[in-house]
Symmetry: C2
Subunit: 172 residues, 2 copies
């Protein structure tokens, strides 16, 4: 499935790549959720993607050069999907998208804490995150130390979830 090429406008072409309801959700789950397998993406999706749509989008994203697929040595039927540099450079767009949504839309607190931290971190944090993704997905050596950006975001998410649970049942 190639691009429609309705026009050569960069915004239009970008929309033709991920201007649908699922492609960016899948990439979001791979980037921020660290998911690499079909089932992880299928069952881990809070939005509830259907398996045929997931299969179709993975195929399409591969054809567009956003993903690659490799055999998982631990299981003959498992496939590992990897982000390409093309997909990794979407991080700033996802950060902006999250920041905008957090301001204007009825987001939930626990799901928007990541967007908030990512916005506060700004371009330096995005760059660090992209380097981590390059390491994970492309095998490029990583020279930064300390906790990963994803782990930091994930910890903040867990903290909000824990706090909300504590608030809901204050009995010790």
């Amino acid at each position: 499935m190639a691009l429609d090429r309705r026009s050569g406008c960069p915004i239009n072409l970008s929309l033709e790549v991920f201007g649908d309801r699922w492609s960016l959700i899948i990439l979001r789950d791979m980037i921020f959720g660290g998911r690499r397998h079909f089932r992880e993406l299928l069952n881990g999706s809070i939005e509830g993607i259907a398996s045929n749509i997931l299969a179709d989008r993975l195929k399409r994203l591969m054809e567009l050069g956003m993903l690659t697929k490799a055999d998982d040595p631990s299981h003959k039927q498992k496939a590992i999907y990897s982000l390409t540099e093309m997909a990794i450079t979407l991080v700033p767009i996802l950060a902006h998208l999250g920041a905008w949504g957090r301001v204007w839309l009825p987001t939930s607190e626990e799901l928007s804490i990541r967007a908030e931290l990512l916005e506060q971190g700004g371009p330096p944090m995005w760059e660090k995150f992209m380097d981590e993704l390059r390491h994970e997905h492309l095998g490029i050596p990583l020279d930064t130390a300390g906790p990963s950006v994803r782990a930091t975001l994930q910890a903040a998410y867990q903290a909000v979830v824990a706090k909300k649970a504590a608030d809901a049942s204050p009995a010790a």
Copy 2:
């Protein structure tokens, strides 16, 4: 037409607002093309939007709070569409989208010059542009002087078109 609310994730909610093939195209034409009327959007769209889709999206964007509609005093049948602050703050996202598309997708030279300038200008230029849009669409006083960002982008576009035409027929 309200949000689906598949989840409270800010990225997901943003996609539910403009994660389709036309909403952002319409906003792009209003923001960068300065279009305010139905027919301008219909006939000026290089991607060729259909009139029923345009009508549906304008209605939806109004319901979502991205646009408002007012009577045009010059013509009893004309309506003027205006961007809200919610839509104006999409400028940085559109800038990133354009920058990403310019790198990774087969854009045309004349249609990507605006994205290039907008990327070079960075956040200061985006802020200036947003102030201009607030002036145009919300009536907020403008204190910056000099040529508008849109005029600058438009002039660059025209220059590329002229250059290409000259290259195609070099005879003086």
